[in-house]
């Protein structure tokens, strides 16, 4: 009865509040935009209905996340309004039980939140069924899709979040504490989960995510097929069920604790942790006597007072100090200034290791862990803007919430003092935060034994760049709270502002001039320093600082002072407060906005063309629509390229004069040459060595057609001359062009070099984009069985380039360095290839103050171009290069060139890239520092071996399976080198690393390996399959097949190689008894599930041990839609028994490793071994069962009986 009344009153009270409706409206708009825009549908294969259950679930989860941030007021009010308003003496003394009071309030909050979350479903419905959507992407209306998403995702989310928000607010007696609960949950689901995910702890990430970011957004996105995404409903099963149960349990636990600890008692002013100590009430002594005579005359000294600017300055500083103190000592402040820096030490320590291999914790790489753009919504630092919103609200409302509003408002001085004081206070908090982060970073470096702290770099980046970013947002948050003047709505608006900043493209805004605080990012690398990135960064930040000044003026004008806060009253004040000095500030701000904005606009949109993503997509679509008809017309093939490149690093300019030799390899005469150019980077002076008329020139889409006066006869050649000018004209919307920089120049022929014929690579790929632009569907890549694709010529060119650069730099281009000389104060380098080479048409140019390490292997000249400071990796790299050349030339054929260049370029990536005769890598690669103890994985060695293997990659047909042909084979090669030079245990460590579900576990669906495309297929499954084959039939047989493949298809003449050729060669070498395995690995998606249930051993009379293994085996075949069928199993599987081994070898010394015939189902296997066994199991090396979990179920510890 009382419960019902409490519930009813609370619900009715809150339903009448504006915030409830605003939250509802915000969610509605968000769900609408997200459904319509669908920017989060990024996956390559995505093509599902707008209203598919998956899309609805996804939007529901994202909506929950937004609700979490904007909707905390509901639970907070319900829990703590009585205390906050001072009503609690009345309610607490009413004859109501705790259960009824808390229960009624909580239930009301939960019900209201549940109703508010319906806005997401409503928004989706509105987006799907209001006009403006093509009918073909709307699936049938399925109520179950909305209901399951709401019931299984939104509703439990609401319960969990409400419980935690409610409990925190009730505990602290402050409604706004609920917001901290939200930030906590947001952090849990968004950041902690992401962190775990990249640690490979997917399951834990799924479990600990309270909202569904992981188990819906990331998990299903990867695990569900397109068909499933369109049709399958989210069900309460598996991860979803465990997660929901776990969090419901946590919610109930939190509520139970709140119930038990809650009491109807006077609330002391002290916070919770002081509750134990007795509160001391102050008592002033009672005066000795009463009455008029007792009073001493007033003797307050007359002291001088100052007003004007000096007073303002002092007031500002005093308020700043107070703001800093109160923020820094609050719970959230302590979290920011104590907990986060401490956690940061751990995070940095953790991040300074990648894939189990330590990285050198250079200051630049540590700093990259400490910083993030404000708009990076996936970064762990999103917590900072969220806390800034909270702090800003607390500061703006500080006086009024303490009841001192009227007293402070009646103090002399303008409104600048409190506003600037609070801003400064918040700034001080951020400065302290940055200082602590610096300390955390240095501490982590010190712990890792790194001493080169580069304090100056910390100061520049954290206090110069990152602090600016945060300060701009802090000001925005303060201004929003001042202008809105309703605390909860202020939070809501500030959070929406942040969501807008972070997801502006979702709202159709892309240009950095239109997104508060946005701008191109800065970059820092050891090689290039900040390069040209600081200039544009600074211009944009200055522009936004001018806006910030204008916002500050607005806040000053509309600052609420006194009792009234009506809109009209505030406008009246604003008119009166618009004093000449304020007007000047506003004028300065507007002037700066216009001049800086104009200057930036001139740079981004006039000097450099600016196009939105959709405009670019439209041009690409038009390119396809207009010129695809020329795709198959005969065009000459490029056979030689001669270039003269002049790089001017300081001027950030490069001039390229080039000529292509084009050969008519077709059987017909060619009368027109088609040239694709890069819009906005048109080549200059395009000319042929025979008369040609430009009959079509489409600069926007980048297409030209030249009619030859005299057709090019079959077998005939012509020359195309062109000039390309790379220069930085001001800066672009995305920042400065960093291709030519003072140190660390790197650009490719993609920078405006003309290409011959229609370029398929320019076509839009995703079905969504293609549909939007009215293009017919196209497969991502042609079918494996498309014979036409195989009949192309491999692109092979004779390349010759003279590259000039500054005298103190070294320039690098593809080919062998023939000659270098100095002329006119510049250094020139002549590179050329040994005849036609290359498996692709991409090539790059480098120029930097390189040091060169020269080495030889037989007749191959090896040159390693590296930053003079980066030397630690050189010997390891050369060891791997030599070992690779040794093994590959012996087993797969000769190295096709007399040279090899390894080039470092600026940038943090840890990976490498291989081209013909050249391996390039970012600076990150040099920071791998594997432990040299022989027991740890030497991943960089394997990576180099992999890139070296690419030198043997065949000219491929551009069809399905091409990535398998390229990457899988290269990894198989690398595995052999690792085994050859480091031994089998190191190979097992490499395989174990590759089996880790990183970042996502294998997908049991899709195409078989022969048609494999995705990274898992090409980088994981392919190498595993080849390795397993090698183990089953001997690696010599596999190597033989691969060598034959190189011999037959190495020339580049059609037909080009496909996985079918690989398969054919493998079939030749595979004995009939293992044909089934080859089939299982390549033709279908087979999964072996092998498990050892029990391993027991008994000593026999002869001193040997008899080991009995209970094993279980199962084999399933998954089709492309993910439907699994069990296949009967009766085949060879390894059984292994291991004795105690040396340290570092996880399995131990093999006592018995042999193939046994294994059937489907349970069975017992008995083997006898000479010594006492420790571990035993089925498929111990994971040749078939690749899913390696933390507790490897293939292997069991042997229980021994003497």
């Amino acid at each position: 009865m009382k419960f019902r009344e409490i519930f009813r009153f609370e619900l009715a009270y809150q339903v009448r509040r504006a915030w409830a409706w605003l939250i509802f409206a915000a969610l509605l708009v968000f769900a609408f935009l997200m459904t319509r825009d669908g920017t989060l549908a990024e996956a390559l294969y995505d093509d599902f209905f707008l209203n598919s259950p998956f899309a609805i679930a996804k939007t529901t989860v994202t909506g929950s996340l937004i609700w979490l941030l904007v909707g905390a007021a509901v639970a907070g009010e319900a829990a703590a309004r009585d205390v906050a308003t001072g009503m609690h003496p009345l309610t607490y003394t009413a004859p109501v039980s705790r259960a009824a009071y808390l229960g009624g309030r909580f239930l009301a909050a939960f019900v209201l939140n549940a109703l508010i979350l319906l806005a997401v479903q409503a928004g989706i419905l509105l987006a799907v069924y209001s006009p403006g959507v093509e009918a073909e992407i709307i699936g049938p209306f399925r109520p179950a899709a909305y209901l399951t998403a709401y019931g299984f995702l939104a509703l439990p989310n609401a319960l969990v979040a409400t419980a935690i928000q409610f409990s925190l607010a009730a505990r602290l007696g402050r409604p706004i504490a609920s917001y901290l609960g939200s930030v906590l949950l947001f952090f849990m689901s968004h950041v902690v989960g992401l962190f775990l995910l990249f640690q490979g702890r997917q399951e834990l990430a799924n479990l600990l995510d309270p909202i569904g970011v992981h188990f819906i957004l990331s998990d299903l996105s990867h695990l569900w097929t397109t068909v499933e995404k369109s049709w399958r409903l989210v069900e309460l099963e598996g991860t979803v069920l465990t997660n929901r149960l776990l969090w419901l349990g946590i919610a109930l636990g939190v509520l139970a604790v709140t119930y038990l600890r809650f009491c109807f008692a006077h609330r002391a002013e002290s916070t919770g942790w002081r509750r134990g100590t007795r509160r001391q009430d102050a008592r002033s002594p009672i005066p000795a006597s009463l009455g008029v005579a007792a009073s001493t005359p007033i003797s307050v000294p007359q002291v001088p007072r100052t007003f004007g600017f000096a007073l303002h300055a002092r007031q500002t500083l005093a308020i700043a100090g107070d703001s800093f103190r109160t923020t820094a000592t609050s719970w959230a402040g302590l979290a920011l200034l104590a907990a986060i820096p401490l956690l940061t030490v751990l995070v940095v320590l953790d991040q300074m290791e990648l894939n189990g291999v330590p990285l050198v914790p250079t200051t630049a790489s540590v700093i990259s862990e400490l910083t993030a753009p404000l708009a990076a919504e996936l970064s762990r630092w999103v917590i900072v803007p969220l806390l800034l919103v909270f702090f800003a609200g607390e500061l703006v409302w500080r006086e009024r919430e303490a009841g001192l509003g009227e007293i402070t408002d009646a103090m002399p001085g303008s409104e600048w003092a409190p506003f600037l004081g609070k801003l400064l206070g918040l700034g001080l908090v951020l400065v302290a935060f940055m200082a602590l982060l610096t300390a955390a970073g240095m501490l982590a470096q010190a712990i890792l034994g790194y001493r080169d702290f580069e304090t100056g770099l910390y100061l520049k980046i954290l206090f110069g760049l990152q602090l600016t970013e945060y300060l701009l947002f802090a000001l925005l948050a303060l201004v929003v709270h001042v202008l809105v003047d309703r605390k909860y709505i202020g939070h809501l608006v500030a959070i929406i502002a942040w969501v807008f900043i972070a997801m502006a493209s979702l709202f159709g805004v892309e240009h950095n001039l239109l997104i508060y605080g946005a701008g191109p990012g800065w970059s820092y690398t050891e090689m290039s320093g900040f390069g040209p990135s600081l200039g544009p960064w600074l211009w944009f930040k200055l522009y936004w600082a001018a806006w910030a000044l204008l916002l500050a003026v607005a806040a000053r004008l509309l600052w609420v002072r006194g009792r009234e806060s009506g809109f009209r009253v505030r406008l009246r004040w604003a008119r009166r407060r618009f004093t000449p000095s304020t007007a000047r500030a506003a004028a300065v701000a507007v002037g700066l906005i216009l001049t800086l904005g104009g200057f930036i606009f001139y740079n981004t949109n006039v000097l450099n063309g600016y196009r939105t993503d959709s405009e670019i997509a439209k041009l690409h679509a038009e390119y396809e629509q207009r010129y695809k008809r020329y795709e198959r017309i005969p065009q000459p093939r490029m056979t030689a390229t001669r270039l003269h490149v002049e790089i001017h690093p300081e001027r950030r300019e490069a001039r390229i004069r080039g000529s292509y030799t084009l050969l008519n390899g077709s059987a017909v005469a060619i009368d027109s040459i088609h040239v694709t150019t890069v819009p906005g980077a048109e080549p200059e002076a395009l000319a042929f060595d025979r008369t040609a008329a430009l009959v079509l020139s489409d600069e926007d889409r980048g297409y030209r057609i030249y009619d030859l006066e005299r057709p090019l006869q079959p077998g005939g050649s012509l020359r195309l001359d062109f000039e390309v000018h790379i220069e930085s004209r001001g800066f672009r919307e995305s920042g400065a062009d960093a291709s030519v920089v003072a140190n660390g120049t790197y650009f490719t022929n993609g920078n405006g070099f003309p290409a011959i014929g229609y370029q398929q690579s320019r076509e839009l790929i995703t079905p969504r984009e293609r549909r939007e632009h009215g293009l017919p569907e196209r497969p991502v890549i042609p079918s494996l069985y498309d014979v036409g694709e195989r009949m192309e010529w491999a692109e092979r060119i004779a390349f010759d380039a003279v590259v000039g650069t500054d005298a103190d730099q070294v320039a690098v281009a593809p080919g062998r360095l023939r000659r270098t000389w100095t002329e006119g104060g510049r250094r020139y380098f002549h590179y050329s290839t040994d005849g036609p080479t290359g498996t692709g048409l991409g090539y790059g140019f480098f120029s930097a103050k390189y040091a060169v390490r020269e080495a030889r292997w037989n007749d191959v000249a090896i040159q390693v171009f590296h930053d003079p400071r980066h030397t630690a990796h050189l010997d390891r790299m050369l060891r791997s290069i030599r070992a690779s050349l040794d093994y590959y030339t012996e087993h797969f054929g000769p190295y096709p060139r007399g040279y090899l260049s390894v080039v470092e370029r600026p940038g943090g990536g840890t990976g490498m890239h291989a081209d013909a005769g050249m391996i390039t890598h970012g600076e990150g690669f040099v920071f791998w520092s594997p432990k040299e103890d022989g027991r740890s994985l030497d991943l960089p060695f394997a990576v180099v071996a992999h890139e070296m293997a690419h030198q043997w990659t065949l000219p491929l047909a551009f069809v399905e399976g091409a990535p398998v042909m390229s990457e899988s084979l290269a990894w198989y090669y690398a595995m052999q080198v690792v085994r050859e030079s480091h031994g089998a245990p190191q190979l097992r460590r490499l395989l174990s690393f590759m089996r880790r579900p990183y970042p996502n576990p294998p997908i049991r669906r899709g195409e078989p390996l022969l048609r494999g495309l995705d990274p898992w297929m090409s980088y994981r499954k392919g190498p595993f399959a080849l390795y397993a084959l090698g183990e089953y039939m001997g690696e010599e047989r596999v190597n033989t097949a691969l060598r034959r493949l190189v011999e037959k298809h190495g020339s580049g003449a059609p037909p080009l190689a496909t996985t079918l050729d690989l398969y054919r060669e493998l079939q030749v070498v595979t004995p009939d008894s293992l044909r089934y395995l080859l089939h299982d690995l390549f033709e279908v998606n087979t999964f072996w599930e092998l498990e050892t249930e029990r391993a027991a051993a008994e000593q026999t009379g002869a001193g040997t041990w008899r080991v009995t293994l209970d094993v279980r085996a199962r084999k399933v075949v998954a089709d492309s839609a993910g439907v699994e069928t069990e296949a009967p199993m009766d085949e060879w599987v390894q059984i292994g028994v291991f004795g105690p081994g040396e340290a570092g070898d996880e399995l131990g010394a093999p006592l018995h490793v042999q193939m046994h015939r294994i059937r489907s189902g349970e069975q017992t296997i008995t083997v006898t071994v000479p010594r006492r066994p420790v571990l035993a199991g089925i498929d111990p090396y994971h040749l078939l069962d690749w899913e390696e979990r933390e507790d490897d179920d293939n292997i069991e510890r042997v229980t021994a009986r003497e």
Binding site: A268, E269, S270, R279, Q280, D281, A282, R283, S284, P285, I286, P287, L290, G291, V292, A294, S295, T296, P297, I298, S299, V300, P301, Q302, V303, P304, R305, T306, F307, A310, L311, R314, Q315, A318, D322, T326, T329, A402, G403, L404, E406, I407, T408, D409, A410, M411, P412, G413, S414, A417, R561, G562, R563, E564, G566, V569, R572, R576
Partner: protein
Amino acid sequence: MHLSIRNISKTYPNGVRALDDVSLTIPAGMYGLLGPNGAGKSTLMRMIATLQEPDAGSIRLGELDVLRQKDEVRKTLGYLPQEFGVYPKVSAEELLGHFALLKGIATRRARREVVEALLRQVNLWEVRRQKLGGYSGGMKQRFGVAVALLGSPRLLIVDEPTAGLDPAERVRFLNLLSELGENSVVILSTHIVEDVSELCTRMAIIDRGEILLEAEPLGAIEEMRGRIWRSVIEKGALAELEREHAVISTKLLGGRTVVHVFSDTAPVPGFEPAEPDLEDVYFSTMAGHVGRRRAQPELQVAP
């Protein structure tokens, strides 16, 4: 130096007419603003304290236009609102020092002197280091007085200051105020008649947004002489008495009812002339026997 309020009106958005064409002239000294709860006292006080603006009318402090030159007024203003809070985790000394700075006392030494003097004045010196969160209601009130007295204000506005004070504190507080009133404009709003009668040289009675009487307390009491009659009656007889006489107040005294009646002449036997006090002035004014309400009694139908 005096405060002149001219034709101030204020209607709240919900239709409540808080002030209706109020005009007052307030000289230096203690000025009492007396009226029942909800009479519009606080609204008027806030307007004088620059925190609220009238719909119409003007307020001038000497040469200053209070509504336009707010910052000038604030430099010389001390304001103790009816209700206020404190930062619980800050000590009295610290917070008073903070406000001293906000009021323009720039040097640290001057601030320390002023803070000490004021805290001694309001008898909080002994507890200056304690957190304000532990203060009793009366101590907070005295702290508020100290804040209001910062910077030797020439205009001091205290809104219902004695409401939360115990008798001893109240006496102390009123003493404090009376000394201030010697060279400043001190406006004291209260619904407690004794506050005014003990302190104020001038007063106004306000009800439902209207000034009913503006007078000197002693003069007003003198005017009542011979017009207030007192009788002790049984409770049951009250209703009949009210029908026939202008009863202005009733009180219980030892279980019997003491009735004050306003009459220019002796009413009936059983009544004796009473020595008038300010309470009689107040009730007579509220009842419309004296002051502005007398002229239009028929308009006083309750809204």
